[in-house]
Subunit: 399 residues, 2 copies
């Protein structure tokens, strides 16, 4: 793949892609797990897939060439952040996100909803939308379903998301109200969208309540989106609750469209998700852990600042094929961390992202070869035998 | 070139390289400018050459693969920093610097002298060496000529430096004392060294005083080092003073050995240096400027945070072949800077380092083709026509 210099590919040009279409083929299925191909105007996404997060149009500390080398296909960017800075109009003027950040493969933007509810100050929700203060400069801003779509059309990602409200998972009354609002907003997003070269996904909400999830999945599925997202999970509920909600939703959503589990990226959650019919995942976990000096393997989390690694000549993971594991020892990585060298974030991000990308590739291959049950069994056995827990996220940085 | 995983190549192995030798061939000469090849145990250095600085065994924000892609050959690491952290014994145990930081090409370590005089606290100099407090933890440390050599032998670079005292350039009495001490220490370094696979360079001092520089060059040249460094410049003196000192020293140092101008890296200084017989340069300037949001071209310095670049679709330098200029606009780089994304340091470092590496490659080619006079004339004409000054260093970070 040639990562070429950004050109002035303005919206006008993108609008010519009238015939660009999206299609999802399921190549193999085992239980509820599927291996598929999602075709987009910027190329194929082989599923199951993990999407690295480039919040502000940059996967933190990583170049597109490095993302390409680790085999990333789909990446995510955040509407809330790019709306506030540098502004979606500027990104459009620079030819859209693909050109701006030099990622010629598929991109997904979220709707901004989640960040408004987790990052912004003084937010006021009404039936029409949300007014809030920017976390950057305190300026008063407003997002509505129509505005979210307008921003996402300016950004120009291949997959865009309906504007939704994400409620605390265990507040039933709140989830009832938020789900109703999310459904009304989903219809408005569908009505507002203009670009035929973007696939708009609807989002299922409903917290940890099976009946709300079921109703939400039924309603969202009825609207005819080309793909569906499952929102409001991995936000405080238990693994068992997450798995139960995935099962409820899986039974309702159409089989022939891709399913995206938003904001979920621990290895165990990827395996649990694929077992329950999820095709697409994204999470800041691998790059955030990297900036907190932690290396992720499928079953462990290594805190590399630990003195035990000071003279450890082994790579993070002997079985890993990433650039970092092929070239650097734990001792060197620890030195970079202790000496506060920026390169530690880059090398650990490369490893952590590669770990999740390779896990989804291996799951895909196992499904294609009809041995995914065995793959999952082995994964959980290894996890149970692992000396530490690989599931918690560091909480000292906002999502 | 394969950048392979670090192996346990301990000192024992390195000591087998008894037949490794260093030789310097001058391939073409024009005036005092030379194009040469310096052969080292880790490969050839084509001169004139610029050496990126990896202070703490990492060229800040850059991977060895990226250094390789931009055509770096020689890189520098700092004895003072590595002695304090992670410790030269640890680096030796991990197989030496080449293996530790995964740089299989030539490495140069300085002696630690310059940093002791510029970074350390409460230093006390005596005839035998320097006692000082670590800038990291305040611990009391001592460096002597013998200790500097011992550390550098543990680190295992191809080119190592004699321990010297760097005085303020315009204090004549201090420079007389410091030069005398530097000369005595140079002899002790020669006597102390044991590894035959390292080339020990002597350092000429003498501030901005032609007679002291002349005496120092004569004395250091008499000791038979395989290469010579010119220290104590680019530390506050004028360009005219630097050039005058280079001319004094050039007339004395043997023609058939490489000359290294320490800590100098502004484009104009590289051209001035090559015009005066310098073969090797190093400087933190390109990577430091990158972390201060400045992009370097041969004749300009662009502060990319400037609002004028917000919607600028051009690369930093249309004529530049680096990864950054081939793939990213000024608008995107400015966005990364404003959004405080680490990737800005990486992309600007790639560009700035490439600019200096390419400048030395182009000077080398011009010398080989007998058109270096013309090259230098054109360079100075373009510099004179440039809208801003490309010579100042940001002063807000210690060397």
């Amino acid at each position: 793949m040639v990562l070429s210099r950004p050109r002035a590919i303005h919206l006008v040009t993108d609008m010519k892609l009238k015939n660009a279409n999206f299609s999802f083929e399921i190549q193999a299925q085992q239980g509820r797990a599927r291996a598929g191909v999602f075709h987009t105007p910027h190329g194929e996404i082989l599923t199951p897939v993990f999407a690295p997060v480039g919040t502000q149009a940059s996967v933190k500390a990583i170049t597109p060439a490095q993302l390409n080398e680790m085999g990333a296909s789909l990446i995510l960017a955040n509407t809330y952040h790019l709306f506030l800075r540098p502004g979606d109009d500027l990104v459009a003027e620079m030819g859209g996100l693909h050109s701006f950040m030099n990622w010629p493969r598929p991109i997904l933007t979220d709707s901004g909803g989640f960040q408004v509810f987790s990052l912004a100050d003084s937010r006021k929700i009404d039936q029409d939308g949300v007014t809030f203060k920017s976390h950057i400069d305190g300026s008063l801003q407003r997002l509505t379903p129509e505005k979210s779509i307008e921003i996402q059309e300016n950004l120009g990602a291949d997959i865009i998301m309906a504007f939704d409200e994400c409620a605390p998972p265990d507040d039933r009354a709140y989830n009832q109200r938020a789900t109703a609002r999310t459904h009304a907003w989903a219809e408005r997003c569908l009505a507002a969208r203009k670009r035929p070269d973007q696939a708009l996904f609807g989002i299922v909400q409903g917290g940890v309540f099976a009946d709300l999830r079921q109703q939400s999945a039924e309603f969202i599925a009825s609207l005819g989106f080309p793909g569906h997202a499952i929102g409001g999970l991995s936000v405080g509920e238990t693994k068992e609750e997450m798995n139960a909600m995935l099962e409820v939703v899986e039974a309702v959503l159409p089989q022939d469209k891709p399913r995206y589990l938003m904001g979920v990226g621990a290895p165990v959650d990827l395996v649990n998700g694929v077992l329950r019919g999820v095709d697409i995942f994204d999470c800041v976990l691998p790059t955030r852990l990297a900036r907190h000096n932690a290396a992720l393997t499928r079953t462990r989390r290594l805190n590399l600042v630990n003195a035990a690694y000071a003279r450890d000549e082994h790579p993070i993971d002997e079985s890993c094929a990433c650039y970092t594991c092929q070239h650097f020892s734990r001792a060197y990585l620890r030195h970079l961390i202790v000496a506060r060298e920026m390169l530690s974030a880059t090398l650990l991000s490369i490893h952590n992202l590669h770990t999740l990308l390779q896990l989804t590739r291996d799951m895909r291959q196992a499904i294609l070869e009809g041995r995914f049950d065995q793959f999952a069994d082995e994964f959980f056995q290894q996890l149970a035998a692992s000396p530490d827990e690989a599931q918690r996220e560091p909480a000292d940085e906002p999502l």
